[in-house]
Symmetry: C2
């Protein structure tokens, strides 16, 4: 079990292609076992579980999954039922849809299903999530926040699922101009790495703590661990941030990142 | 004459406060000599020179300038007239309004007025510019470009006024999510520093090559000079950028930056 990850994660910045080549979703099925994959789609985040569930069920079936089951956890009672756990136990891949990250943690946190998720993850089942399902991966997650200039009060944070440690993930990253709020997040504890994932882009993290970029846009890593000046503990909540220097890494297809070494790596398997 | 600057510049990210404390515009008048200041407002960038000219004339007069004159250069013939030059020669501060940066360089580049500007700048007259008037300060300027993910084709660049060397300035920075296009700009030549200035925020640069942050939001400096990996020369124009590592500095009031040393500094004069 690594410092950052205990298993395999596919963290998607939202808006993944569902009509064209479906590079990211295809990769998920492939990593989950391809024709032998048994997928559980968790729709806890969304207010439209039926609609979203059917969409991914159809997609994963088209992409060659052996079995796709949608688990719509409506309340914590259901999240403590044996049937839900067994479904997860039998899976080779779990997929969290988008929606509201607080719905996921509110419904799953501390339940039997939550424990089953941690167990299968540690056993090597790939856990994927898009948008809210991406944010929820880390131990502390960004719940909301203004776009624009980095300010202390531009973010609200909450405890996430903790599958990815000492990292804060943000999604729809470049599309919604979120570098300010990611920097505000890491400024609170520069030990934590900030990872901003663009739409139609994902990071595939393995248990060695390395990730590869999958998809068409970029992944931005901010590392403030070497920063010498910040005003985070002094300033008024609405005041603008000071944080210097921060190491910034702009990564796309063919590249990746070593979370332990805090440095970029090449992905030799990519053309 | 420094490596980066030959005189004094006030570079404003657009949207500076004109109704409240007017911190930035007040600072301009102060640096230009306060009650002894003689200001020339250059409206070359805007399509509404009369309206914009009157607005700044009123503002600078209210803020205590001794004399404010609006110079509306409508064509290159006028930019070569002696009268325009003499106006500049007699000034203690020059202010470029916003609009379109290509209008400024197209009208002034290579004219007598352009030369007069360079001369008074080197003699210590403060040159200020907001929005398009900010972009135009550097030797290479960003003319346009998409917001969002850093891509080679997200920017178009052109030669600027060259008052600030080896720096690319971008404005309305956090408000319009422009870090991607600034990174794309510096990736073309990592020797060049990228400086992104938020709205209602400015940098006050002196001839030693140091700047201070003035105003309420942030200034972002990106320094790719130590980057070890980039795909800028390989990728297709539409492909996403790789640039790692980049040194990132988030600065606000009370802080500044040394362009030569490429490191943040404290502004001791600020509370």
């Amino acid at each position: 079990m690594g410092e950052h990850v205990a298993g395999k994660l596919l963290i998607i910045g939202g808006g993944e292609d569902k009509k064209g080549e479906c590079i990211i979703l295809k990769r998920f099925i492939q990593e989950a076992g391809g024709r032998e994959s048994r997928i559980v789609v968790l729709t806890a985040a969304t207010e439209y579980p039926r609609q979203v569930g059917i969409e991914y069920e159809k997609l994963f079936t088209q992409l060659g999954a052996q079995k796709v089951q949608v688990l719509d956890v409506a309340d914590r009672i259901q999240a403590n039922m044996k049937g839900s756990m067994e479904l997860l136990d039998d899976s080779t891949g779990v997929f969290f849809t988008g929606g509201d990250q607080l719905r996921i943690t509110g419904l799953l946190g501390g339940t039997l299903l939550g424990k089953a998720l941690q167990k299968v993850y540690e056993q090597g089942v790939i856990i994927a999530g898009t948008s809210a399902g991406a944010s929820v991966m880390s131990d502390t997650m960004i719940v909301g926040g203004e776009e624009g200039t980095a300010k202390k009060n531009t973010i609200t944070m909450a405890p996430g699922l903790g599958l990815l440690r000492a990292v804060v993930v943000d999604q729809h990253f470049a599309q919604r101009g979120r570098i300010g709020r990611l920097l505000a997040a890491v400024s609170h504890n520069p030990y934590v790495l900030g990872v901003g994932i663009d739409e139609d882009t994902a990071i595939l993290v393995d248990s060695s703590g390395k990730f590869k970029v999958v998809g068409n846009q970029s992944v931005t890593v901010v590392d403030a661990s070497a920063s010498v000046a910040t005003n985070v503990s002094e300033i008024d909540p609405g005041q603008s941030l000071v944080l210097t220097p921060v190491a910034l890494h702009i990564l796309s297809k063919g590249y990746g990142f070593d979370l332990r070494q805090r440095s970029a790596i090449m992905d030799e398997n990519e053309e």
